[in-house]
Amino acid sequence: MKKIFEKPKSLRGVSTHYCPGCGHGVVHRLVCEVIDELAIREKTIGIAPVGCAVLAYDYWDFDVTEAAHGRPPAVATGIKRMLPDKIVFTYQGDGDLAAIGTSEIIHTANRGENITVIFVNNGIYGMTGGQMAPTTLLKQKTKTTPFGRDKVRDGQPLKISEMISTLDAVAYIERVAVHKPGNIRAAKRAIKKAFSNQIDKKGFSMVEIVAMCPVGWGTSCEGAIRRIDEEVLKQYPLGVLKG
């Protein structure tokens, strides 16, 4: 019998620590599928962030290093400049990339480093228990915005991908989502393009992935999927921002 679906080789056969309905499991798998399809597992170096995905190295079956909170783009710069023929990618959450690591991501993009960035935007700090992220929506209640995010007190949701897409050195930026099968397929195409760009030495490529965090959002798994359509994508519309 012909096998038509299997676990990607780059994904380890272990059980996940992620909460039910979390987007990380889907994104981890998509990254691994792309790495398998491009046959780059043996030359890929991943950088795990601080946050829920810090344990990515427990799931990925290729070389992975940890990085301090927000610093994966600087670490990726160091690795890629030393090993330009390897495939280097960062996997970062919204707190990592758009708050504490804003400086590193912008300058790495501006140098046009030939790396791939997988940016998971779920609008919340999941690991620490659900505090406000830079991408949290206005009026959204979190552990540190108990009355809802207020634009005067807390600032407004940061459209970091739009900001970075203004930089001349950037090759490709696209925002995708992983809440529905069609979106997941589109997300995979974007991830594949971002890795292919690196192989073709086209320069800095980033995919922002709008993802669910039902536990952090205080919703059911289905509620989280509905919320993406009804609220999140209004603030963060999908599409190619550059490239």
């Binding site: 597992r41 043996e42 030359k43 890929t44 170096i45 795990a48 810090v54 344990l55 190295y57 990925w60 079956d61 290729f62 070389d63 992975v64 290093t65 940890e66 990085a67 301090a68 610093r71 600087a74 670490v75 990726a76 710069t77 160091g78 690795i79 890629k80 400049r81 030393m82 090993l83 390897k86 495939i87 400086s103 590193e104 912008i106 300058h107 140098r111």
Partner: protein, 362 residues
Amino acid sequence: MKRRQKTENRRQKTVLMTGNDAIAEAAVAAGCDFYAGYPITPQNELIAHMSKRMVEENRVFIQSESELAAINMVFGASVAGARAMTSSSSPGISLKQEGISYLVGCELPAVIVNIMRGGPGLGNIAPAQSDYFQATRGGGHGDYRTIALAPSSVEEAAKLTRLAFDLADEYRGPVLIIGDGILGQMMEPVQSSVLSPQPSIKRIKKPWALTGAKNRKPNIIRSLYLKPGSLEEFNNKLQKKYEEIKKKHTMLEKVLCDDAELVIVAYGTSSRIGKAAVQSLRGVKKKAGLIRPITLWPFPEEAIKHAAKKAKAFLVVEMSSGQMVEDVQLAVGGKCPVHFYGRPGGGVPTPEEIEKQALKLL
């Protein structure tokens, strides 16, 4: 090269250069593959030198957007198995502390140069030795130490830079080179042999580096130990490493200590001033000697303990309000009085000031 005036003496083959240039050139000679840094006075000659020489040698130079980025780029280069270095001065070194802690936690080699200036805060750009605590107590968060090499001349700065790369690789961790604004800016002759590339740079294999999991299991670099007891185990492993470093790599210089009644303890620039004071005290038949720690950590406590058996008093001289003096007190262990003379905030003691203090004690 403006700063590196090549006044080559044909017989001695020396080059006149600043400490900053000497450290940079020695790093190139030691096979430094990767440098990232951010400008800050008084170490700017170092980054400028690297911006030229690293590119000439077809190696990597990056002027980073911040000290945080620089140390994390060094982290990345080290992950890839490179010999990597960054340099800065006191306020910038404070910013690098997060990265230094992670380098220790992930057991990654790196060389970090601190050409100290006055603090706290923005302080000033005058030479100082006020980062001793930071350099010798770990500096960042967590239970660790870093080897801290403190040269007192331009040539020694070059030699210790080469050693720093070897020690970093051998012990898989960051090694600090601790200088001050005078050492960084002052020009002195350096034997050109010290700056010539080693015929075979001692490269140890790094099977732990991330180079792509081809024909081997994936390598993982991390400092996160969540399993109960595993972080305690890792910390104990670090401490074992530190014990070995203490035994094998404690370095110091002794000057006229055998019959000394007063032992001056000073490092870096203040040790040179201390030496001048010892010479003039000897000229008036006063039995003064000097101990100069070359490694600030590991601290040469045994040598000081030994000197305390004969000495009547110690005088610690620092360009700070008194930091190393605590280590001297610990080593002397109450055997005799330990006095202190220092000038903080960019003040530099003169030999006469030290002599005056010494005469009160002799």
